[in-house]
């Protein structure tokens, strides 16, 4: 017996349901409730064998290893550049190396944190993953970057904030372990965006007022009608394109999306805490990593932050840390109160 291919009619390539009907929202709620109890905490990152090759800890200095998947989907791939080695001339390899270094520098210089786990964990990245692969991710051990399809997306190492975003997923697993589902998942995504853009601002020496607050601005090709993948300042406005669709992120709780897609909309509802951070940082002025960034960092490192925290709980803890650091009342606490109110979140 041999097999042949057959095509299933009809092709219905409908759009994602981003704001479902009352019925759809009801279905989503039932499904999400069901799934919620089954989701485990991913746990802290676990170094791979390649991460344990007898490296000595070097606080203040990253240990980077950039690998090349050579368009296959096997990790980590062939090693192309180790710490201290000169540039290879391959833009993806060198961008990943530089961006991981810039991310390490932000966390070391501002928060005195030694890498993902604060124990000097080597920063391992693989580039040229897959063929035309339009994604970047953290897999619990390392960061992975695709080259993009060339039509809509360029290589994912082009954006410093994207590389940093993926590293921060590892950091969050080391600290709060925010479960990647519903509001805690959206917080996981938002915190990764926050420190992604802070890495870029820190690297460029930009103040909150000078920054563009865009995520993935360098990824989209000229053919796409859009400026980035997300906007922290104005969620929902990053792109509006015939092929990509329209940026579906809400900027306020009144537009919160209940959905069964994307683990309960983790990449959608992250727009709400993203804008809260933007509002707080721009109200405080100066370098965003010095005050707002510090408050957010201490919040995700606080053991009191439950791994299934919702927006209100997270907001409440940011206020606790702002009051501890700057006093209550203080300009910082007031700015935070205004920021959370500005996105419709009532801190708990």
């Amino acid at each position: 017996m041999h097999t042949r291919s057959t095509f299933i009619p009809p092709y219905i390539l409908d759009r994602i349901v981003d704001r479902g009907s009352a019925y759809q929202r009801g279905c989503a709620r039932i499904t999400l409730d069901h799934l919620h109890s089954l989701l485990p905490n991913p746990g802290p990152p676990h170094p791979t064998a390649i991460a344990e090759l007898g490296e000595q800890r070097t606080p203040g200095h990253p240990q980077r290893r950039i690998h090349d998947a050579e368009q296959r989907m096997q990790l980590p791939g062939r090693q192309r550049r180790r710490e201290g080695q000169p540039a290879t001339g391959d833009p993806a390899v060198d961008e990943a190396y530089d961006a991981l270094g810039a991310t390490y520098d932000l966390f070391w210089q501002v928060f005195q944190r030694d890498s993902i786990d604060d124990l000097g964990m080597p920063l391992i990245g693989t580039v040229h993953y897959g063929q035309g692969y339009e994604n970047a991710f953290w897999n619990g051990e390392q960061m992975v970057f695709g080259d993009g399809d060339g039509e809509l997306f360029q290589r994912f190492t082009r954006s410093l904030d994207v590389v940093a975003h993926e590293l921060v997923h590892g950091l969050i697993e080391s600290e709060a372990g925010l479960v990647y589902f519903n509001q805690s998942g959206a917080l996981n995504e938002s915190v990764s965006d926050v420190f992604g853009v802070l890495t870029k601002q820190h690297s460029l020496g930009q103040t909150a007022a000078e920054a563009d607050w865009l995520v993935g601005a360098e990824l989209l090709t000229d053919k796409v009608q859009g400026v980035a993948l997300r906007s922290m300042a104005h969620p929902g406005t990053a792109y509006d394109d015939p092929l990509l669709g329209r940026d579906p992120q809400p900027a306020h709780m009144r537009d919160f999306i209940e959905t069964r897609e994307d683990n309960g909309g983790v990449h959608l509802n992250s727009g709400i805490p993203n804008r809260a951070f933007y509002l707080a940082a721009t109200a405080l002025g100066g370098y965003a990593w010095e005050q707002a960034g510090r408050i957010w960092y201490d919040t995700i490192c606080d053991p009191r932050l439950a791994n299934d925290a919702d927006f209100a709980t997270f907001a409440g803890l940011t206020l606790t840390h702002a009051a501890r650091m700057f006093g209550a009342p203080s300009q910082q606490v007031e700015a935070l109160n205004q920021a959370w109110a500005g996105v419709g979140v009532e801190p708990r």
Binding site: I12, N139, G140
Partner: protein, 110 residues
Amino acid sequence: MTIPELGPETSLRLSRQGGFAAVPGLARPRQIEFARCDAAQRRGICAVLERCLPVASKSVGAGDQRFYQVELHYRREDADAEMILQIPEERAPRELVQLWQDGAIASDAP
């Protein structure tokens, strides 16, 4: 877990979700109505779903990893029923990816 008995009233929605670039246009949901398929095509779809069962997981997508979501709507004991499978991208059977991408399945040749 097993694939339930799927009658002609079954519909299946297959999409790819998650990822750093979780934009609407990349999900490309595919809706398949069993009523529009012949018996061999239905068997082929069920075979794909059977292959997904061992790699399906309730915990997918963390850290921007993409995954496939299969939503089955079917009738069971005269009532509407639903089954959802989530399959991490790196563990997805080739046949599932082909079904999502091209609407194609392998079926027994006559």
